[in-house]
C-alpha cells in the first residue's frame, strides 16, 4: 500500500512540477502567466494529435507528440508575450483569455478532426520503464524507478532549473528582472527580451506538462482534461516561495493529495467519492490561505515594463 501511494504521488506530482518549473522561471522574471492552464490544455491536445498521426512510427510517436506539445505551448506563450510584454496589456486578463481560447479551440479542432464521439482513443503513449537494478531496491524501488520517461525527465529538469536560476549569470539577470527591471536595464540587459525568453520557456514546459496528461498518464484527450491543474501549478509556485526545489516539495504534496484521494475513494469509509474529488482543490485553498507571503513574491511581478521607464 505504501509503495502504491508513493508511486501515485510521483505520478500525480509530475505534470504539476513540470508546469510549475516553467512558471517559477517566468514569475522570477516578473511575468505572471495565468494562461498556464490554457497552455497545458493546448499541450495536452497537440501532444495527442502528434502521437495519433505518427502512430505508424510506434515508439517514436509519443516523442513526436511531446515535441508538438512543447511547440504548441511555446507558440501560445509567444502570443501571450506579444500581448502582455510587447503591448503591455494586463497579464491577468490576457491569461484568462488564453485559457478560454484554449478551451474553445481545442474542442473545436478536436470535433473537426475526430468527431463528437472521438476516434482518437488509445494513441501511442510513453511506456513504463523499469530502470535496471534501481527498480529492484526493496520497498521504494518500484515506486521510484518504474515510471514513464517523462517522470524521469521532469525530476532531472529540477536540478537543471535550480542551477540555471541560482548559479548562472543569466539566471541572476532573470531574477533581477523580476525584482527591479529598471536596474537590470541600466546594466545593458534587454528586459523585454529576457521576459519573453522566460515566458517561452514556461509555455514549452506547460505544453509538455499537458502532454504528460494525454500521452503518458492516459492515452487519449478529453476536452478540458486539465481540470484546473494549471491553476494548481500556480498555487504550487506561490507555496514553493518561487523556488524550484521548494516548488518540488509543494508539487509532491499535491501529488500525495491526489494519491490519497484515489485510495480513500477505493476504501470508501462511507464518504461519497464526490467529496474526495474536492480534496486537491481544498488542499490548494488551504495552501493559499495558510501562506501569507506577498512580501516574498518578486517585486515587479505582474507589472508590465515599458521602454519609457
Amino acid at each position: 500500500m505504501f509503495e502504491d501511494i508513493l508511486s501515485a504521488t510521483i505520478r500525480g506530482a509530475t505534470p504539476l512540477l513540470l508546469a510549475a518549473l516553467g512558471e517559477v522561471v517566468s514569475q522570477r522574471a516578473g511575468v505572471l502567466n495565468i494562461g498556464i492552464e490554457g497552455m497545458m490544455l493546448i499541450g495536452a491536445f497537440f501532444g495527442m494529435v502528434g502521437s495519433f498521426y505518427m502512430a505508424e512510427f510506434a515508439v517514436f510517436a509519443p516523442w513526436f507528440g511531446l515535441l508538438m506539445a512543447g511547440l504548441s505551448g511555446l507558440i501560445a506563450a509567444a502570443l501571450f508575450a506579444l500581448f502582455a510584454i510587447r503591448f503591455r496589456g494586463d497579464q491577468v486578463i490576457i491569461g484568462t483569455a488564453m485559457t478560454l481560447l484554449a478551451l474553445g479551440l481545442t474542442e473545436v479542432i478536436y470535433q473537426r478532426l475526430f468527431g463528437v464521439t472521438g476516434i482518437a482513443q488509445g494513441v501511442p503513449a510513453f511506456p513504463q520503464i523499469d530502470i535496471p537494478l534501481l527498480s529492484k531496491i526493496p520497498y521504494v524501488g518500484r515506486s521510484l524507478f518504474s515510471h514513464n520517461i517523462l517522470v524521469y525527465i521532469t525530476f532531472l529538469l529540477l536540478p537543471c532549473v535550480y542551477f540555471f536560476l541560482y548559479h548562472t549569470q543569466l539566471g541572476l539577470r532573470i531574477r533581477a528582472c523580476g525584482e527591479h527591471p529598471k536596474a537590470i536595464a541600466t546594466t545593458g540587459s534587454n528586459v523585454l527580451r529576457l521576459r519573453t525568453f522566460c515566458l517561452l520557456f514556461a509555455g514549452a514546459m506547460a505544453g509538455m506538462a499537458g502532454a504528460y496528461l494525454s500521452i503518458a498518464d492516459v492515452p487519449y484527450f478529453t476536452p478540458g482534461m486539465t481540470v484546473g491543474r494549471g491553476f494548481i501549478a500556480l498555487a504550487i509556485v506561490i507555496f514553493g516561495k518561487w523556488h524550484p526545489v521548494k516548488a518540488c516539495g509543494a508539487a509532491l504534496l499535491f501529488g500525495l493529495g491526489s494519491a490519497l484521494d484515489a485510495r480513500f475513494q477505493a476504501l470508501g469509509w462511507g464518504i461519497p467519492y464526490q467529496l474526495w474529488l474536492m480534496l486537491p482543490y481544498v488542499l490548494c485553498l488551504a495552501v493559499m490561505a495558510g501562506f501569507v507571503g506577498r512580501a516574498e513574491a518578486p517585486l515587479a511581478l505582474g507589472k508590465p515594463y515599458g521602454e519609457s521607464e
Binding site: 496589456g89 494586463d90 486578463i93 479551440l105 473537426r112 464526490q274 467529496l275 482543490y281 485553498l285 505582474g302
Partner: protein, 374 residues
C-alpha cells in the same frame, strides 16, 4: 496584485471613441480571427456570419432565445464589473451562479407550500445569499490572507461543480430518475414566462425560455449603476479599485471593501441561477451554468464595466450564443465551442489591444478634426 482597473484606461480618446469605437474595433478584430478559424475548418466565414445573424434575430423565437441568453450574461457581467471596480478579477461567476441556483432550487423544492408572491422574494434572496457566500470566502482570503483571487475563485468553481454532483446524486435526486436531477417544482413555483406575461397583455409571443428574470436583470443593472456611482459604498469601492494606498489615507478600508465587493458580485452571479433554475428548467440539474459565468468576463470588459454597456454587450453575446447554436446545426463542421473561442478573443483584444488600437485611432481622430476645422 495586478492593477486590473488600470487595464481599461480612458486617457487620450474622446469618450464616444473610447466607449463606442474601441469596443467595436475589438469585436471586429475578434470576428476577423474567428473568421480565419472558420476558413481553416473549411467553411465560408461570410456564410457563417449570415447564418449567425439570421439565427439570432431572423424570427420571433430567435429573439426570445437571444434575450434569454442575454439575461444570464447581464447578471454574470454585472457581477464581474462590481468586483472589477474594486480592482478584483472575479472569475468565479460560474461557481457562484451554480450555488445561487442551488439556493433558488432549495427554496422552490422545500417551501413550495407558500404562494408565489412570498416564494419569489425568498428565492431571489436565497439565490443572492448562496452566490454571495461562495464569493465571500475568496474575498475574505484575498483581504486577510493575500490569496490571489483568480486562483481561489477558480478553485471555488471546481468545488461548486463537485458539490453539486454530490448533492444531486446522493441527496436531492428524484427517486424515480436515472439522471442526477431533482424532482420538477410544483406547478405554481416558477418565474412567469415572457410569452405568458405578454399573453395576459394580449400580445402574441412564441414559446421561448425567456422569462421575468430578464426585466429583473435590467432592474439589477439600474441598481448597480446607482450603487457604484451614487452611493457612499460605491464610492469607497471605486476608490479602493483606483488606488488602494490612497484609499487607506482617506480612511477607507481596502480589506472591508474587497469582501463587500466580492459578496455583492457573488449575489449578482447567483441571479443567473434564478433565471436557469426557476425560470427555465424548473428543477435542479447538473451543469446549468454552461459557461455563462465565464462569458460574463468578456461581456463586462466589452461593456467597459458600465451597466448600459453591459446590457448592449449582453445582447450581442446572447445573439452569438443563439446564432452559434443555429450555426452548429446548419454547419456541422463548426462546433458550438467556436463561441468560446470568440469570447476568448474578445477578452484578449480588450485586455491588450487597446494599447495597439489607441495609437492608430488617435492620429486618425486628430486628422479628422483638423479637416473638419478647415
Amino acid at each position: 496584485m495586478p492593477d486590473v482597473a488600470a487595464a481599461v484606461p480612458e486617457g487620450g480618446l474622446p469618450r464616444w471613441a473610447a466607449n463606442g469605437v474601441l469596443p467595436l474595433v475589438n469585436l471586429l478584430a475578434a470576428f476577423v480571427v474567428a473568421g480565419i478559424v472558420i476558413l481553416i475548418i473549411g467553411e465560408s466565414p461570410v456564410q457563417a456570419l449570415l447564418v449567425l445573424i439570421r439565427g439570432a434575430f431572423g424570427f420571433p423565437e430567435a429573439w426570445g432565445y437571444t434575450l434569454y441568453y442575454a439575461t444570464n450574461f447581464i447578471f454574470t457581467a454585472l457581477a464581474v464589473s462590481v468586483a472589477l471596480h474594486c480592482g478584483l478579477f472575479n472569475i468565479g461567476g460560474e461557481g457562484q451562479g451554480y450555488l445561487g441556483g442551488l439556493g433558488v432550487g432549495l427554496v422552490c423544492l422545500f417551501l413550495d407550500g407558500l404562494p408565489l408572491v412570498l416564494l419569489l422574494p425568498l428565492a431571489v434572496a436565497a439565490g443572492g445569499l448562496f452566490g454571495a457566500l461562495w464569493a465571500w470566502v475568496p474575498g475574505y482570503l484575498q483581504a486577510r490572507r493575500g490569496s490571489h483571487i483568480v486562483i481561489t475563485t477558480i478553485m471555488f468553481n471546481f468545488l461548486a461543480a463537485t458539490l453539486m454532483v454530490y448533492l444531486l446524486v446522493n441527496v436531492l435526486i428524484d427517486p424515480g430518475q436515472m439522471s442526477p436531477q431533482s424532482r420538477t417544482f410544483a406547478e405554481h413555483v416558477r418565474l412567469p414566462a415572457m410569452h405568458e406575461v405578454l399573453g395576459w397583455l394580449g400580445i402574441a409571443f412564441p414559446r421561448t425560455p425567456l422569462n421575468m428574470a430578464f426585466p429583473w436583470a435590467l432592474v439589477c443593472g439600474v441598481l448597480v449603476w446607482i450603487f457604484i456611482w451614487h452611493t457612499r459604498w460605491g464610492y469607497e469601492l471605486r476608490t479602493v479599485g483606483a488606488n488602494s494606498t490612497a484609499a487607506v489615507y482617506a480612511g477607507i478600508s481596502p480589506s472591508r471593501n474587497t469582501v463587500r465587493a466580492m459578496a455583492i458580485s457573488g449575489a449578482l452571479a447567483g441571479m443567473m441561477g434564478l433565471n436557469e433554475v426557476m425560470g427555465v428548467n424548473h428543477r435542479l440539474l447538473l451543469n446549468f451554468t454552461a459557461g455563462y459565468g465565464f462569458v460574463g468576463i468578456a461581456v463586462s470588459l466589452m461593456g467597459r464595466n458600465h451597466p448600459l454597456g453591459i446590457v448592449v454587450a449582453s445582447l450581442l453575446f446572447g445573439a452569438l450564443y443563439q446564432g452559434g447554436t443555429e450555426l452548429a446545426f446548419e454547419m456541422p463542421k463548426v462546433s458550438r465551442e467556436l463561441v468560446v473561442v470568440i469570447q476568448g478573443l474578445v477578452i484578449l483584444f480588450v485586455g491588450a489591444l487597446e494599447y495597439l488600437f489607441r495609437p492608430v485611432l488617435l492620429p486618425w481622430l486628430r486628422r479628422r478634426r483638423r479637416l473638419a476645422a478647415e
